[in-house]
Structures are given as C-alpha cells and as structure tokens.
C-alpha cells in the first residue's frame, strides 16, 4: 500500500539534494548553514522513526539553533535572466501552463477516481493520506513531462527548487514546529486549563452572551493553538455542549458546524497558522511577514460577526 512513508523517502531525497547543492554554491556566504539545515530535514524524513523521541528532540533543537543564530543565507546566482524568461515565454507559449496544471489535475482526477470507484477498497493507496500521495504522483508526472519537453540540465529541478526553498528559509519548518508545540501544550494541560477558565465565566442566563463567548473562545483559542481542531473539543466541552446544547436547547448541528467555522476566522488572523499565513508571505517574498494576515483581518472580523448571528438565529430561533 502506498502510504506517507513513500512520500517521506521522496521528500528526504529532495532535501538531501538541496543540502548537496547548497554546499556547492560558493555565491552563498552562509552555505554551510544551509547545508546543515536542509541536511537535518533530510535526516528527519529518512530516519525520524529510528531516532527515538529524544533524538528527534535534539534534531529540533539543532534546527532551531541554526535558524536562531542566523546561519541561513541565499545564493546570488540567478538561473535565467528576466529577458531570457520573456524569450522562453514567447517561444513556448501557453503550453507552458500545462506542466503547472498537471499537479492540480492529477489531484482532481485522482480524488474523483478514488472516492467514486472501487479503487478506494483496492488497498493500493492508504485512504488516510490519499491527497498527499496524489500530490506526490502529480509532482513526478510533471517532472517527467518537463524533462522530456524542455530538456533542462539534469540538476535544474534541484537548483530551482533550492532557489525557492532558500527564499522561504527557516519558515519551512515553522508549521511542523508549531504542530509539535501543540503536542507539548496538550501534554502540559494547557487545553484543560483554558477550558476550565472559559467554564468559570458562565454568562448570566443570556443565550446571546453564551453564543458570543463560545464563538470568541473558539477564535482566541484557535489563534493561540494555530488551528481550530485543537480548540473545538475544548470549547465544546466547556461551553458548546453543557450550556448551549444541553441547558439552552440549541440545535447541535449548528453549534458544532458553525462553532468550528468561527474558529476558522481565528485561523485567518494568527501567525501560529504558519502554513497558511507565514509561509505564503515568504513564498511571495513580501517585505512584511504578517502581510497575508493583514490582508485577511478585514474579512475575518465581519465573517465572525456573521457566524455569531448564524449561531444565534439558526441555533436557537429557527
């Protein structure tokens, strides 16, 4: 069965190639820092399951140390100039979009095939990681297409991938670091503490205030943890189920679904949701690392108000 481990082998190979290519780039004054950083990520993908928890912990501290003392740099050698790119673009025309669309297209067709044919039960792909496995397939097909059509130098995908990964820099591992911070928060009992705290602020008999507190609790806790999944069980236990559903008789489907969506408004406003908010800022080379969050706040706040109204009206008045 094709599962996540196949992808980890592939990702490990890619980061190992980035490490080697960094070591050979004399235009980067900090090339050994980059080599060590991408090399450690390759080690994590390949051997993470054999290192043990403490071993992985030390690996994490090493990554943090490299980033913390600013040992990551960038090479300065551009692969092709803007003029060359304009020239290529004119010569190759709109066909250039095709390889880029292979990845989403494989995801599209693959998901449909998997969900609506007997493929689902064939045991070929692990159903839990089907989206990521299809992404991996899409990448491989797109790479083969590019090699056959454009005939780039053999190492070109590695060099170009490294150019992009260097521009993201340390933010590459931030989403994974935040997920492990979540694990530590859970183990140290942060969730139960916040739940207990939210439970002590019992609104005085006003359904609307209870709804407001539930939605705001989802937003704030989501902003702290970086995702609404960690917040939902805590807020459901503290307010959603005992007060809104059991005491006030709210519609459980509305309280559940819209409560989660109120949390998503929090996801739009927090740097802790790094893969949605911080990594894109690096990927798009924005000067302000909080630029994406700034663009999202004016959508998130009115949408939160809409969610509070939906919770109140659909949950209690319909």
């Amino acid at each position: 069965m094709i599962n996540l481990h196949w992808l980890y082998v592939l990702a490990g190979a890619m980061f190992a190639a980035f490490a080697i290519s960094s070591a050979r780039d004399a235009t980067n004054p900090k090339r050994w820092g980059n080599t060590a950083f991408w090399g450690l990520i390759a080690v994590s993908f390949w051997f993470g399951d054999f290192l043990g928890d403490i071993g992985n912990g030390i690996l994490v501290l090493a990554l943090v140390a490299i980033a913390g003392v600013h040992l990551l740099g960038k090479g300065s050698k551009p692969s092709t100039t803007v003029e060359e790119r304009e020239h290529f673009s004119d010569r190759l025309g709109n066909k250039l979009f095709l390889p880029a669309l292979i990845i989403p297209f494989v995801a599209f067709v693959g998901t449909l095939l998997f969900n609506y044919t007997p493929l689902k039960n064939s045991g070929l792909i692990d159903p839990k990681s089907v989206t990521l496995v299809l992404l991996g397939f899409g990448v491989i097909i797109a790479l083969i297409t590019c090699y056959l059509w454009l005939r780039p130098p053999v190492a070109a995908p590695v060099e170009e991938g490294r150019r992009l990964i260097d521009s993201i820099g340390w933010a590459v591992v931030l989403p994974q670091m935040l997920a492990s911070l979540g694990t530590v928060f859970a183990a140290a009992g942060v969730g139960t503490t916040i739940g207990a705290l939210a439970g002590t602020i019992i609104p005085s008999g006003s359904v609307f205030l209870a709804v407001l507190l539930y939605a705001l609790g989802m937003v704030i806790f989501t902003m702290i943890m970086g995702n609404a999944f960690a917040a939902f069980p805590v807020m459901a236990t503290a307010i959603g189920v005992p007060i809104l559903i059991q005491a006030d008789g709210g519609n459980p489907a509305v309280i559940g679904a819209v409560g989660m969506l109120a949390g998503f408004c929090g996801t739009l406003m927090t740097p802790m949701a790094a893969n949605f908010n911080i990594v894109p800022a690096a990927l798009l080379e924005l000067k302000n690392q909080y630029g994406v969050i700034k663009a999202q706040i004016p959508t998130a706040i009115p949408l939160l108000i809409a969610n509070v109204l939906i919770l109140y009206i659909a949950g209690f008045r319909l």
Binding site: L4, L7, G55, G57, I58, V60, A67, G68, H87, F88, S89, N94, L96, P99, I103, F108, T111, L112, T131, L134, G138, V139, A142, L143, A156, V158, E160, G161, L164, I165, W170, V173, Q176, S180, L181, T183, V184, F185, A187, T193, F229, A236, V241, A253, G256, A257, V258, M260, L261, L268, N275, L283, L284, G291, A295, Q296, A306, N307, I310, A314
Partner: protein, 224 residues
C-alpha cells in the same frame, strides 16, 4: 485548584512574535517553558517536542512541488501568466481574484482541496496574474502596492479553501465535530453538519468578494 503556570508559554509566544524574535526560537523556548511549568521533567519535554515534530512531518510534504514550480519559472511561467492577463479584455485584479475565490470554494466543497494552494497555484499563477491585471489598469506598481496585491492573492486562496471545505462531508474537521459531539452522546451524521457550513460559505463569498471588488477602486486611488 487549576495550575495556571503552563499558560505562561502562551504569553511567551505572543510577546516573542510581537517583538519579532526568530519564530523558531520563540516556539522552542515556549514549548520548553510550558512543559517545565506543566510539571514535566526536561527530557520528557524534549521527547514530546521531538515526537510531535516527527509525527507532523506530513505538513512539510507540500514542498515537493517546489522543484517543478521553480523549473517552470526558469522557462518563463510567471511571464506567461502575465502575458495572458494583459491580452484578456476586462480583466481586473478584483474580478480575477473573485473568480479564483469562487473556483476555490466550489472545488473545496467537492472535496478537491488539493487543487489550489500557495506553492502550486498562488506563487506561479494567481499572484503574477493579479499583479499583471493591476499593472495593466494602473501602470507600474510601487513595492508596497505589489505586496498588497500578492497578499490579497494569498488571502483569497485561504478564504476560499477554509469556507468551502466544510461543505464536503468527508473532510477532517467535520469528522472531528461528529466525534467530539458523539462523546457526549449527541449523534449526528456528517451530512447534517456539512449543510450548516453553507450559510457561512455564502457569507464568506459575499464579504471577501465585496472586498475584492473594492480593492480595484483602492488600486485606482493609490495610482493617482
């Protein structure tokens, strides 16, 4: 008696991010402080951190697309995306992103969340197209405006996927809601939950969509 000390870790994260220390450093320090105040010995904290990091490697799988995207950029993909928009009549930044918002929400509602995303779609296609549309109407953009157009492109991708995906019944968050409520003896089907994602999805489209159309006017004003 509740132990409030672990909450100190949250305060450290907030202060660290606000003062713009290196976020990796902030997160590592916050994790260790939280664990120690939560009564865990140091090695246990280190092990929990390492375990969490290893278990969440799948988050970083998305970077596999970078070699393909980088290679296509070498052959002028961003320039091609610009050319296409410049030739298209009536294309503005706001309308283009509005179309992308609808596309992203509808596909996510059908469970196709992997069609889209910052590395595969926004950087190589959506952002260059949005920039080209802005330049076509308003001339060369200054750096601050370019960044605003790019940030709006990324924001549109996020809003589209967040407020589309819950309409699909087999998505992780719907299953989590179902499981959490079931532990209290409240039995719901995924379908009962996912229909209640529709009103919010419509509100998200109206709110963010209006902002996108207003964005065209803001670009107009800042170009004068």
């Amino acid at each position: 008696m509740i132990n409030y000390w672990p909450l100190l870790g949250i305060a450290l994260v907030v202060v660290g991010f606000a003062l713009r220390f290196n976020p990796l450093l902030v997160v590592a320090v916050a994790a260790i402080v939280t664990g120690l105040f939560g009564g865990m010995p140091f090695l246990k904290v280190l092990g929990t951190l390492g375990h969490g990091f290893n278990e969440n490697r799948y988050v970083s799988i998305i970077y596999l697309v970078l070699p393909v995207i980088g290679l296509l950029e070498r052959y002028g993909l961003q320039q091609r995306a610009r050319t296409m928009i410049v030739r298209m009549r009536g294309a503005t930044t706001g309308r283009l992103l509005l179309g992308y918002l609808a596309f992203r929400q509808i596909l996510a509602a059908l469970g196709l969340i992997a069609v889209g995303g910052h590395a595969q779609m926004v950087r190589p296609l959506v952002a260059p197209m949005a920039e080209a549309a802005a330049e076509k109407a308003h001339g060369k953009l200054d750096d601050a405006t370019t960044d605003r157009v790019r940030a709006m492109s990324a924001a549109t991708d996020n809003v589209g996927v967040f407020f589309g995906e819950d309409i699909f019944i087999a998505i992780a968050s719907i299953l989590l809601i179902q499981g959490s409520l079931a532990s209290f003896g409240i039995e719901l089907t995924p379908f009962e939950l996912s229909v209640w994602a529709i009103p919010t999805a419509i509100c998200a489209f109206l709110i963010h969509g209006s902002r996108l159309l207003l964005f065209d006017r803001q670009l107009q004003r800042s170009s004068r």
